[in-house]
C-alpha cells in the first residue's frame, strides 16, 4: 500500500521520528474525568438517586399520575409463547433460533424499560413502604444492580437469562410498589395510606 520504495526522504522521516513526543501543559485528563464520571454513575443501578430526583417532580404531577396503572405483566410471555407456537415442530433452523433469541431479548428489554418507567413515574406518589417491604425492595434493587454489572460486561454469554432475571426482579419491585401506590391513591386505612405520611 505505501510506496516506500519511491521515498527519497527517508532521512527526513528518521529525523522527524527522532523528535520527542509533546505533552499538553494543562491536565486534560482532569476535565475528561469530570465529563466521564456521569457515564460511570449511569452504568450503575441508582434507584435511591432516581427516587430522590423524582420526588420533587412527583408533587407537580401527582394529580395526573394518580390513575396510572403498572404495565401489564403478560407482554413478554405473550410475545414469547406466540413466537414459539408458530415454530412448533422440528422446522426451526439455526436462523430461526437466532431470530427467536433476538425477539425474546428485545421483548425482555422492552418490558424492563416499561417497568422502570412506571417505577420512575410513581416513585414519589406511592406510600412509603412498610419496614419489611422496604428491606425487600432494597434487596431487590441490589440484585438488579448486580445484574446490571454483569450485563455491562462485554460479550455476556447469557444475556437473555440476565434480562429475564432483571425483568422478574423489576416485576417483584413493581408488585411491592403498586400495592402501596394503590393504598395511597384510594386513601385506604393504614399508616402507609395517610397522605400526611406519604407526601413527604
Amino acid at each position: 500500500m505505501s510506496d516506500q520504495n519511491a521515498r527519497p526522504e527517508l532521512t527526513l522521516g528518521d529525523a522527524l521520528r527522532a523528535l520527542p513526543l509533546q505533552a499538553p501543559r494543562a491536565d486534560v485528563w482532569a476535565s475528561l474525568a469530570k465529563e466521564l464520571a456521569p457515564r460511570k454513575r449511569r452504568a450503575r443501578f441508582v434507584w435511591p438517586a432516581a427516587i430522590a430526583a423524582c420526588a420533587l417532580a412527583a408533587f407537580i404531577v401527582i394529580a395526573s399520575l394518580r390513575h396510572v396503572a403498572p404495565p401489564a405483566t403478560a407482554t413478554v410471555a405473550a410475545s414469547s409463547s406466540s413466537y414459539v407456537a408458530n415454530d412448533t415442530g422440528n422446522t426451526m433452523n439455526a436462523a430461526n433460533a437466532l431470530k427467536a433469541t433476538n425477539v425474546q431479548l428485545t421483548a425482555l428489554q422492552s418490558r424492563s424499560r416499561e417497568l422502570e418507567q412506571w417505577l420512575h413515574e410513581t416513585a414519589g406518589i406511592a406510600a412509603p413502604l412498610p419496614g419489611r417491604d422496604l428491606a425487600a425492595a432494597g434487596e431487590i434493587e441490589s440484585l438488579i444492580g448486580i445484574i446490571d454489572v454483569e450485563l455491562a460486561a462485554p460479550q455476556s454469554t447469557h444475556e437473555e437469562e440476565l434480562w429475564r432475571r432483571r425483568v422478574n426482579l423489576l416485576e417483584d419491585l413493581t408488585a411491592l410498589r403498586y400495592s402501596n401506590y394503590r393504598l395511597a391513591e384510594s386513601g385506604a386505612t393504614g399508616n402507609a395510606a395517610q397522605p400526611t405520611t406519604w407526601i413527604n
Partner: protein, 210 residues
C-alpha cells in the same frame, strides 16, 4: 490483520502498515474490556498511554498548542464514548489514531481553505539533507514554520506512515496534491535548515536580523 494491510471495512479505519507510528502501543484486551464496562480507571490508563502520541499528532497537524489540546480532549472523549463499538479486527491504536486524526483534520478544514498552490521550483536537491545536521529543537522550529497542510502531509507520510492515496482521501484531495505538498514541504524545510541559505537566519533569530 497483518501489518501492511489496510482493512477499510473496519469502521473506516485506515491502518497503515508502517509500524513506526507513535501510536503503535500494546493495549491489553482486559483494559479495553474494563473501559467498555465504564471503569474510569481503565479510561485513565488508556488516556495516559496515548496522551502524548495523540497530542503530538494534533500539534503537528494544527501547529497550535491550544487547538491540539482541544483536539486531544475531544478525540479522547469520542474514544471513550464509542469504545463499546470497537471491534478487535483492527489494532486498538489504529482505531484510536484514526479518531484523533479525523478530529484534527476536521479542525484544520474549518480553519481555512486548503492552499493548493504548488511551485515545482521549490523542489530541491535530494542529496543534500540538512536535517541530518540539525538538532531537534531547530528541526521542530522549522517544522512549525511550514503551512499547516504541508506540515500535516509531511508528518502523516513520514512519521505515521500513511500513503499518498490515504492522505489524499482524508484531506479530500488528489494523490498529486499530497505528493506536491510533500515535495514542497521538504524543499521548504531544506531551505529553513540549510545554514548556507539566508532565510535560516530568520529561523535562528540572530540579533542583527531580528
Amino acid at each position: 490483520m497483518s501489518a501492511g494491510t489496510c482493512d477499510r471495512s473496519v469502521r473506516g479505519c485506515i491502518y497503515s502498515g508502517v509500524t513506526s507510528s507513535f501510536f503503535d502501543l500494546e493495549v491489553p484486551q482486559t483494559l479495553i474490556d474494563r473501559a467498555c464496562a465504564g471503569e474510569l480507571r481503565a479510561f485513565e490508563q488508556i488516556y495516559r498511554r496515548f496522551e502524548r502520541p495523540m497530542y503530538t499528532l494534533a500539534l503537528r497537524v494544527l501547529g497550535d498548542a491550544e487547538a491540539a489540546r482541544d483536539t486531544l480532549h475531544d478525540a479522547m472523549l469520542k474514544v471513550f464514548q464509542r469504545i463499546a463499538q470497537y471491534r478487535s479486527e483492527a489494532p486498538f491504536w489504529a482505531w484510536l489514531r484514526q479518531i484523533a486524526l479525523n478530529e484534527a483534520l476536521m479542525r484544520l478544514r474549518a480553519r481555512r481553505p486548503i492552499d493548493t498552490d504548488f511551485d515545482p521550483e521549490l523542489i530541491g536537491d535530494d542529496n543534500a539533507a540538512p536535517w541530518t545536521q540539525a538538532d531537534g529543537a531547530t528541526l521542530d522550529r522549522a517544522l512549525s514554520n511550514l503551512p499547516d497542510v504541508t506540515r500535516s502531509v509531511i508528518w502523516l507520510y513520514h512519521v505515521e506512515g500513511y500513503s499518498h492515496p490515504e492522505i489524499a482521501e482524508m484531506m479530500g484531495k488528489t494523490t498529486s496534491f499530497s505528493k506536491s505538498q510533500l515535495a514542497r514541504g521538504t524543499a521548504r524545510l531544506r531551505t529553513l535548515l540549510d545554514p548556507a541559505v539566508e532565510s535560516v537566519s530568520c529561523l535562528i533569530k540572530t540579533p542583527a536580523l531580528s
